[in-house]
Amino acid sequence: MFAATAIGILVVMALALARAFLGPTICDRILAVNMFGTKTVLLIAVYGFLTGRPDFLDIAITYALINFIGVIAVLKFVEGLADSERQPRPDEF
């Protein structure tokens, strides 16, 4: 049962990777990578159950937080880059 769940999560991760390769904008790629990261957290948790080692859950907690910080850092970079390239910022569409 856990193995089937793990395979299902791997399928989701593969699809997320496909979107990360397809793009087309940088934000699409970051979105896909973020999704890949949250699925990794779930995969670590399920894998911990699969091998009967609940220690893995500590890694999953850590990964959830580090993934978040990584995505925010990349976004700050992208945002700053975009702002420096175009001065006027649209607040309305």
Partner: protein, 118 residues
């Protein structure tokens, strides 16, 4: 993994329930991933990714919690769920916000005026 189950819960019922949660979670995850692949623009893809981040993750972790029973493993799974549900909306929000900065305009069928609703 030792299961500290209360005696009134039959193991079989619990297994079935957790299996249903795991299958449902994986199904939602795949649905979200398919949505991320086939939705037309970035902003709509955020919604599809939201499906995999919220209910899919919640159902998979809830299924694992049922397997673990009343142990500290369940508490740690609850922490994972708490952190995921705290951070994933912030990440989505920050992504959408950064996308407006890069100048990506959403495909909109109609202009959104709250007064024009209903």
């Amino acid at each position: 993994m030792d299961l500290l189950l209360p005696p009134l819960f039959p193991d079989l019922l619990l297994d079935l329930l957790s299996m249903a949660l795991l299958i449902g979670g994986v199904f939602l995850g795949i649905s979200g991933a398919v949505g991320v692949i086939r939705f037309p623009d970035f902003y709509t893809r955020v919604h599809a990714a939201g499906v995999t981040d919220t209910l899919s993750a919640g159902m998979i972790l809830a299924g694992l919690m049922l397997q673990a029973g009343f142990t500290l493993v369940t508490v740690k799974l609850a922490f994972i769920l708490l952190f995921l549900w705290l951070t994933s909306p912030v990440a989505s929000h920050a992504l959408a916000r950064a996308a407006t900065h890069t100048g990506a305009k959403p495909v909109t069928a109609t202009s959104g005026e709250p007064s024009s609703s209903n």
